[in-house]
């Protein structure tokens, strides 16, 4: 079951161009860490996840043995995809992950729930975003 999400924020870590694997995740996974522009995004995401769990009938019983969902780490959201997200606009020509770091982007993806009840955030599209002109010093 999928639910569309759209998050705007700064890229703080990227393995979009060069996917990574690990002992725990042997498949190569495209990962992205995003610091959302507004902390309200976490509340919205948590509510969306709860709605997805309810719709899919995922038991909320914590005694069930399953992996812990790792979608949020402190003030960052973690996106994982098996396929490379599509880069649009000024990001199209980027050839290394380092070039993506610090960029303000909009990421479109899904909250994906698997049969084993694990939930991940996937990213399918990353495009440059514009911040409004608010400056606290003005």
């Amino acid at each position: 079951m999928n639910t569309l999400i759209r998050i705007r924020g700064w890229i703080t870590d990227s393995h979009v161009i060069n996917p990574q694997s690990s002992i725990y995740e042997p498949e190569k996974i495209h990962k992205l860490r995003l610091q959302p522009e507004n902390p309200i995004a976490f509340k919205e995401l948590e509510e969306a996840i709860e709605a997805v769990k309810v719709r899919s009938g995922t038991p909320t019983n914590k005694s069930i043995n399953r992996h812990k969902d790792v979608l949020i780490d402190g003030c960052e959201m973690i996106f994982k995809s098996f396929y490379k997200p599509k880069l649009y606009g000024a990001l199209e020509d980027i050839s290394s992950d380092e070039e993506l770091l610090g960029k303000f982007v909009q990421t479109v993806g899904h909250i994906r729930i698997f049969k084993d009840m694990n939930i991940i955030l996937t990213a399918h599209l990353i495009e440059p975003a514009l911040l409004d002109d608010f400056d606290p010093l003005d």
Binding site: W10, I11, T12, D13, Q35, E37, N38, P39, I40, K43, E44, E47, D73, G74, C75, E76, L101, G102, F104, L131, F134, D135, P136, L137
Partner: protein, 71 residues
């Protein structure tokens, strides 16, 4: 009665934001954007302490400003 103060979750979020903003600085994020991030962090800290959530308009930090509700 609502008790004022930051919860452990709030404190963890603030600590993580401080690390993340420093990461953004090292990645070359513009001065203006860093100022905005630090302003939002201060706004979050101030309003979370008083248990009033984020304001519907970030330009107006006062406690009387109504809380932003998730979409």
């Amino acid at each position: 009665m609502t008790q004022k103060g930051l919860t452990l979750k709030d404190q963890n979020f603030i600590n993580s934001s401080c690390r993340s903003i420093a990461k953004c600085e090292s990645h070359g994020v513009m001065e203006k954007e860093l100022r905005r991030q630090i302003y939002i962090l201060g706004l979050y800290t101030f309003r979370q302490y008083h248990k009033v959530g984020l304001p519907s308009d970030i330009r107006n930090p006062r406690l009387q400003e109504r809380e932003l509700v998730p979409n």
